[in-house]
């Protein structure tokens, strides 16, 4: 049942700029081996039985859905704003539930401990109260007014600033964050992870950014994000249980984890249970 639900979401399965004519990528999505081929008529996504699947190119990635009635792919309108630099950061494999990868991305409390001296620093470990809501109209989880002191919030940040964050979960395996843009305070940088579930306990993660930053080189921007994501990777792989527990009895969230609580409830309500545990094993 959870697989049927998951099949009707769209997933990033390749970087668009790597899909040049004749290029092919073998991958795995929801346990289904896929071949992605760039032909002169566009991209072809095919499984081992020869069945083809729809695709679309959004946010610098190739997206596909395996189900017969896919839900609409969400939008990130900032990606089309002139002046922003869109930075796909490559793919990183992690042995963890796709839902764990999203939840970790939403968790602010770990910044000072895991991203020490970049996204957080001791003694600034306090997360001020913020607002979490499920926006019924869009059917998305949002956390807003999240404020946090950061020594180096972005590649473009010269020194420590208090950063304001907004988090958004537009689909079960996608998390988007909006944060104060150091060189352009009236705007927000956008950083997202598109999680491709290979199985319930393994995923390929595609970080992507849409930033205002004219100073840093593309290579520096990619590495800034890769450094942060790889700091999370070893922690993600060591989390137990491997699947995300959705029964409130299984893990007691701390006060700073309100977003996580809302995310878990939202998954449960939708039946988005691929990569989740619903009862004590």
């Amino acid at each position: 049942m959870s697989l049927v639900y998951a099949k009707n979401d769209w997933y990033a399965i390749a970087a668009a700029d790597e899909m040049t004519l004749g290029q092919q990528r073998q991958t795995l999505l929801l346990g289904t081996p896929l071949t992605v081929t760039a032909t002169d008529e566009g991209v072809v996504v095919r499984d081992d039985q020869g069945k083809t699947y729809p695709y679309q190119i959004k946010f610098d990635h190739v997206w596909t859905a395996l189900g017969d009635a896919p839900r609409a792919l969400f939008d990130i309108p900032e990606g089309d704003e002139p002046g922003r630099r869109c930075v796909p950061c490559g793919v990183v494999r992690v042995k963890c539930s796709p839902l764990r990868a999203v939840e970790n991305f939403l968790d602010i409390a770990h910044f000072p401990f895991v991203h020490t001296d970049i996204l957080g620093a001791e003694p600034h470990t306090e997360v001020e109260p913020y607002k979490v809501e499920i926006r019924e109209e869009q059917d998305e989880v949002w956390a807003t007014k999240v404020r946090f002191f950061q020594p180096k919030a972005a590649k473009s940040a010269g020194s420590g600033i208090t950063t304001e964050y907004e988090y958004r979960v537009p689909a079960p395996t996608v998390a988007v964050l909006y944060k104060t843009c150091p060189p352009k305070p009236e705007a927000q940088d956008v950083i997202a992870i598109f999680v491709q579930p290979r199985g319930e306990e393994e995923c390929d993660v595609w970080p992507w950014m849409a930033l205002y930053d004219d100073e840093s080189s593309f290579e520096e921007l990619v590495q800034f994000q890769q450094e942060i994501f790889l700091q999370d990777r070893s922690i993600l792989e060591n989390q137990l249980p491997h699947r995300l527990p959705l029964d409130p009895k299984m893990e007691i969230p701390t006060r700073a984890d309100m977003t996580s609580v809302a995310y878990r409830r939202w998954l449960k309500k939708r039946g988005a249970l691929y990569g989740a545990m619903t009862e004590v094993a």
Binding site: T116, S234, I235
Partner: protein, 220 residues
Amino acid sequence: MSFTLYNWVLSGNCYKVRLLASLLDVAYETVAVDFHPGQQHKSEAMLALNPAGTLPVLVAGDLVLTETPAMLAWIAATFDPSGRWWPTNDARAMAEVMEWLAFSSALTATSGEARLKAVLDRPIDLPKALAGAERCFRQLEQHLVERRFGGGVWLVGDHPTIADIACFPYVALSPDGGLEHDAFPAIREWLYAIRGLPGFKTMPGIHELHELREGEAVHG
């Protein structure tokens, strides 16, 4: 005298240079090279600098170094007046350090490759790489156990050397590729000792001593 490091932040070999420079308190410039996903180390400009197409590359004036052990030796010889990190005035110690520098290449070819497969899905035979890494680890464990019997902490002599720095990253990072340290207690002690050095610098996948929460989930 300073230098420029052509660097990829997630490379264990680039980290060896960053780590030694930090331990010796040497300032330097970096140029970010997009190893992944851009494959920029194989670009024309990088191949002109280093025909082998590997990272890191160290440039100091007209000196261009492409082999990590050579970079470590040059940095130590240039910036460590005590001569302890690269003990060239002690024939035996120098030769032993060179043994371990060669061994560090075997670590890159096994543990380092396993990590590239596990993290970036590079076309690598993972079981073979892990088996090779385990053989290397057993050899290293045996050596460190013998060293401890004699009161030694480091790979060679009574002071850390470039041998420790050359071997450290792909041992410390092996859990990224799926090889845990649990079965190697002497290796674990040695990793702790290196992390405790003044001026120690981390990289993603290697945590600072005070934030170690090994075997314990941080989130959730």
